[in-house]
């Protein structure tokens, strides 16, 4: 989706257990949800 918008050189960081120990942990575990950091560039 990011590349389809025209961005290049997309990087994705390591998964983070964003919801671990929070009320939303159950849904997060059910759907394999983690937090990620993204970096992308608009062509120069």
């Amino acid at each position: 989706m990011i590349e389809e918008a025209g961005f290049i050189d997309v990087e994705i960081g390591a998964p983070m257990d964003t919801f671990g120990g929070a009320g939303g942990e159950g849904n997060a575990r059910a759907f394999g949800v983690y937090g990620y950091s993204f970096l992308a560039h608009k062509p120069g």
Partner: protein, 201 residues
């Protein structure tokens, strides 16, 4: 032009506003996500930087990743934060771009805007502004930003194609998008995708 979306975008916006209004006015309430300093530590923000920030700048933080972990911002850069909330990531951005940079937060929740503006004034940041708007149509000139940041916001928008198109518009050529967000590795059933309540839970 907006594409087909799984839920009504306006209805989803109202649900999101309602949820994050609570986070603004009652940051120590019970939510399905972590908030504040414990969350910042979980997401690997710099302890010294966060530790130096006043409680009011951190307590309503409710991001899901760390937009600065893959690359720091550079001094003097112009930054737009989409969905700036109470301003935590905008204040981190200000710390990185310095007094010669500019940070513009965009948020649609009145209580968050009020809180972020007050905190920016208390922190003495005259180059950090917060504007009312939605991230699918931001009040930002074409090509204004060196960097667009966001944290846990894009997943709350029904029309993601429009969001990325809008980011592309406000970035200058060669500009960067740095954001934190969630992604799922297991399939989500259609009935769950079409359930607005689950988008914010």
């Amino acid at each position: 032009m907006a594409g087909k979306t799984p839920v009504d975008p306006a209805a989803l916006r109202e649900e999101v506003k309602s949820k994050y209004r609570e986070v603004a006015v009652d940051p120590h309430g019970i939510f399905h996500f972590h908030t504040g300093r414990p969350l910042a530590k979980r997401l690997e923000y710099d302890d010294d930087v966060v530790g130096a920030m006043p409680d009011v700048a951190v307590e309503s933080f409710s991001g899901v990743g760390n937009p600065f972990i893959l690359r720091r911002l550079s001094r003097g850069e112009r930054v737009v934060e989409m969905g700036s909330g109470a301003g935590f990531d905008s204040f981190i951005a200000r710390q990185q771009v310095g007094p010669e940079g500019q940070v513009m937060g965009v948020d649609m929740t009145e209580e968050m805007l009020e809180k972020s503006r007050k905190t920016a004034a208390e922190m003495g940041f005259d180059n950090v502004e917060f504007h009312e708007g939605i991230i699918e149509d931001m009040p930002v000139e074409d090509g204004w930003a060196d960097v667009v940041i966001s944290n846990g916001v894009i997943n709350l928008c029904a029309d993601k194609d429009q969001v990325f198109s809008e980011i592309f518009r406000v970035l200058k050529p060669g500009g960067r998008l740095q954001f934190g967000d969630i992604a799922n590795s297991n399939p989500v059933p259609d009935e769950a995708v079409e359930n607005i309540d689950l988008w914010t839970a």
